[in-house]
Symmetry: C3
Subunit: 212 residues, 3 copies
Amino acid sequence: MNKPLILLGGGQQASVIAEILLSEGRNLVAVVSPQLISSASPLAGIRRLVSDDELLKNYSLDDIQLVNGIGAIPGQDLRWELFDYYSNHGYRFASVISPHAILSRYLALEEGVQIMAGAIIQTNATIGKNCLINTGVIVEHDCKIGHHNHLAPGVTLNGSVTTADRVHIGTGANIIQGIKIGYGAVIGAGTSIVRDVAAGQVVIPAANRILL
Amino acid sequence: MNKPLILLGGGQQASVIAEILLSEGRNLVAVVSPQLISSASPLAGIRRLVSDDELLKNYSLDDIQLVNGIGAIPGQDLRWELFDYYSNHGYRFASVISPHAILSRYLALEEGVQIMAGAIIQTNATIGKNCLINTGVIVEHDCKIGHHNHLAPGVTLNGSVTTADRVHIGTGANIIQGIKIGYGAVIGAGTSIVRDVAAGQVVIPAANRILL
Amino acid sequence: MNKPLILLGGGQQASVIAEILLSEGRNLVAVVSPQLISSASPLAGIRRLVSDDELLKNYSLDDIQLVNGIGAIPGQDLRWELFDYYSNHGYRFASVISPHAILSRYLALEEGVQIMAGAIIQTNATIGKNCLINTGVIVEHDCKIGHHNHLAPGVTLNGSVTTADRVHIGTGANIIQGIKIGYGAVIGAGTSIVRDVAAGQVVIPAANRILL
């Protein structure tokens, strides 16, 4: 568990992740980023690898663990694809749990789960591999979250919500208790979900803005 | 205040409550539950009473305090009825405050109040008896919450909101400053409340979901 | 930074601010309030000045710092005007950061910023002078908040949101990533913002409540 870490991605999401790792004194030895790193970033000064090939050539899967630093945006699958790509090569992903998250002791967290500051995961919840549980998200008791989910900042899932894989729940959306959400569904920012959502469905708030 | 505790209910909400009690080293001597307890629950291994009669027969009101472990769902009054039933028999209810809740030092909390992880109660608020202030709820300064209220996960009450008894505010609903909500009103998940709500009123978001 | 403090305002918002200052052992020597202070307030017992003139006459700008205790409500500019009035007289405003807020170490916070309990400010965010970041607000990575903004309780700003000066974002509103909000805009409680908002615009949820 305490192997040196390599971060995939050098952008804004990677900076948030890096700040957590550095605050915990984790040994972050390199970052994979085709672009230069901002000098103001927590990543400044860390060895930069310009490609996945450079990583694969120089770091054995026995010597390091990976951290996914790619953001999660609907329609962009890079975050999920990178996880599968490196997993297929035998690499393992470390989890990243903010010291400011609140976690029940009765949880099942799978490989590479990331839980940001202020997120709360309640009793008997399950979080699938490579999920990003973002800032201030609430996952209530007995929720079962599939693999490769993104729960955006401020999302609230009430008790016993179940999601399939690759579900995206947008900023501040609210899901009532017992709802099931299918594979690849996208829930728009601020939407309240009170009925089950089918696989592939995109749900957004309707005409809910008036300009005065 | 440090009497042994008996938990009413053995379901999902009871597990969340039990985790708080056990993390604080409280002496939880029994749980009342007609159903068997899951072996994965924080309640596993605690003495089970199958009925209220078994409790009344075996535990004197001088020797124990009760904890309400029943969930709060609109249209189901068991949580409120049990509180009144045992109160009428002279039993007292202990409060349950998560160590991860943030409480002002200038509050009035009545008997049996329950405040879950991440909830924030600001200066000069009042919370009535048997209220469940759920995960991540914000109760701003000078709010006055009646008895038997349920504020579901992610609810935000801005300053000086007043609620009567038996009010249910659903997942992630937002109430602006100074609003008054009448007896027994139900506010649907994700609703924004900007005008006072009459007693018995049910308010839900209108047609705010589009399927793409 | 450790000069004695004088609080402008003696109302409800001032009580929340005062509780933070007192919990940190800050030296609060006076409060400016034309009205009497409630005996239940954290401000009870603190010397009261009845007017700005009394402050200006008795306290030199070298000896004290000010704290803005005026609430922020759309259409009421007193909070912003007082800051400018005293700044023009050469006085300086102290910042107020709740010990229960979660702040990245990579932030730029300007003069007089106030951050309430449970608020989370992520990596590389910027907060302009005299902003009130209220209870439980989420400001994600790389947001740039102008001067004199009020982010009401429960607001969520996803990454890289930019606001101009004097923006008001209402209770529980959600702003998706990358949005720009113009000078003086008002975002109504619970609104989801998915497009840029022009200067002076007022945006509220449309007809989103049904009474059953």
